[in-house]
Subunit: 275 residues, 2 copies
């Protein structure tokens, strides 16, 4: 049996260290055969001795070291240490800083964690998240009036996670489950059609997702909720609603939340350009 | 009057292109005097001609080009073009790939967007987000039993955004607002104390946040909700609850959601190590 290769990753930051993690996830996804041990995370490092201690451990662990240190002295120390000790080392910030200095002559302010400023954008995002939670699942349809977007769709078409994901980007999103037996709220007629997004999914795929859902709730699978015939009817009904209100339709089958959100953002941009 | 410098940033990816944006945000935060125009984003680029068209525009715009292209041919093309045309260029992926190849001999699979795989972790995250929305604001206290964490605190101590942020990391989080006039749900007694987090905030800060909150709702500010005396009482009551149930206390004044979440994760790790 072939052993899987393992790489230990040390992430060192003078702030929280979240910045490197998304890039690292994208990189490691390219190596299905390598196990990346990413549990060595060192936030708030701002003393030379602390940094040296960590780097010495990294040598012992034969680790890959990634830094997001804005302090140029600490970054230089890490670079020199890595070169002299043959340590695999990547500085994610300073290549940027060098290019920006070449282009503009400007130097970074070197204040760690500036990203987490409690500024206007930050509070806008928080309030968008609160909005999405408050107006989830058609709980309070009057919120549709203030929403940037109202997501419509039958059960399990990813309305809630999509609402939250878009809220993280600052959009105020409400959502409404479409159930043939339940009348639509009147306020829906007052929402501009370009703000309405109808989510659809392949019936077979939806049946599968719903069966998994019931499984995870410990329930039996023999209900109309997972009945393919019934799902076809629900989807037909939802398409009729989309047509009536002029909602733009997105098929979410085999799309991740990120991909669907991207299409919605493109739609919003196009709409605001067309006006 | 001194003009602010502006840098146009081109972000080119063969997937959605989200990976570069967090790093870019961290970098640009270091230059308060430079305007970064980050509206040139090019996702799903996988043809040489497309890429060359974009790079030619980048030259005209004197742009800074960032790529997250997993395809090595496209990345090489971008590098060569940039060198021969004096374009400022940063490849975020391939420096990683080179180091990993040195360390292990392995090469990347070069499949764009592998990050957005619909795998187990992905569905765990989605279901954690749905959990957080469902059990927000004490709506259904029976959910406390299944929660990894229950956040407790008076109004405006950031319970909802924190729940969602932690859900994005896969934790199942419920939250309960503490209101002296409202009895606590009995189920709280069944939650292990290490799963309870009590959020507190400086009274003056909380009063300010609540005034802003009422402002944003278009309401008058003269209510007991923003009365400092009343806020002291509420916070005293909340601390009494935390003590009774053995909740760990975190002061959220001047902390971003990310920072508070970090402390909570550290607490959880410590707790699981101690067992």
């Amino acid at each position: 049996m072939k052993m899987k290769k393992e790489i230990i990753v040390y992430s060192i930051s003078d702030s929280l260290g979240g910045t490197s993690q998304k890039l690292l996830a994208a990189v490691t996804a390219q190596y299905p055969d390598i196990i990346f041990n990413n549990s060595y995370r060192f936030p708030f490092i701002n003393q030379e001795e602390e940094l040296l201690d960590i780097l010495q451990d990294a040598v012992k662990d034969d680790a890959l070291v990634i830094t997001t240190l804005v302090n140029s002295q600490l970054a230089a120390l890490a670079r020199e240490f890595s070169q002299s000790h043959g340590l695999s080392y990547l500085d994610l910030m300073h290549p940027f800083f060098e290019i920006i200095q070449e282009k503009t002559g400007s130097r970074p302010i070197e204040v760690p964690g500036t990203l987490h400023r409690l500024d206007g954008d930050y509070f806008k995002k928080i309030s968008a998240i609160e909005f999405a939670v408050k107006y989830d699942d058609g709980k309070a349809p009057q919120g549709f009036i203030d929403a940037d977007l109202v997501l419509l769709g039958v059960s399990r078409t990813s309305k809630t996670p999509l609402s939250i994901y878009l809220a993280n980007k600052g959009y105020k999103v409400a959502n409404l489950p479409l159930i043939p037996e339940v009348p639509l709220p009147q306020v829906l007629e007052k929402v501009a059609s370009h703000r309405l997004i109808g989510l659809v999914c392949e019936p077979e795929k939806l049946a599968k997702i719903r069966i998994n859902r019931l499984d995870s709730l410990g329930l039996s699978q023999e209900t109309s909720y997972t009945d393919l015939e019934k799902i076809y009817q629900e989807l037909d009904y939802s398409k009729m609603v989309f047509k009536k209100y002029g909602a733009s339709i997105i098929n979410v089958s085999d799309k991740s939340i990120e991909e669907t959100a991207f299409l919605i953002e493109e739609h919003l941009k196009k709409m605001s350009e067309d006006r």
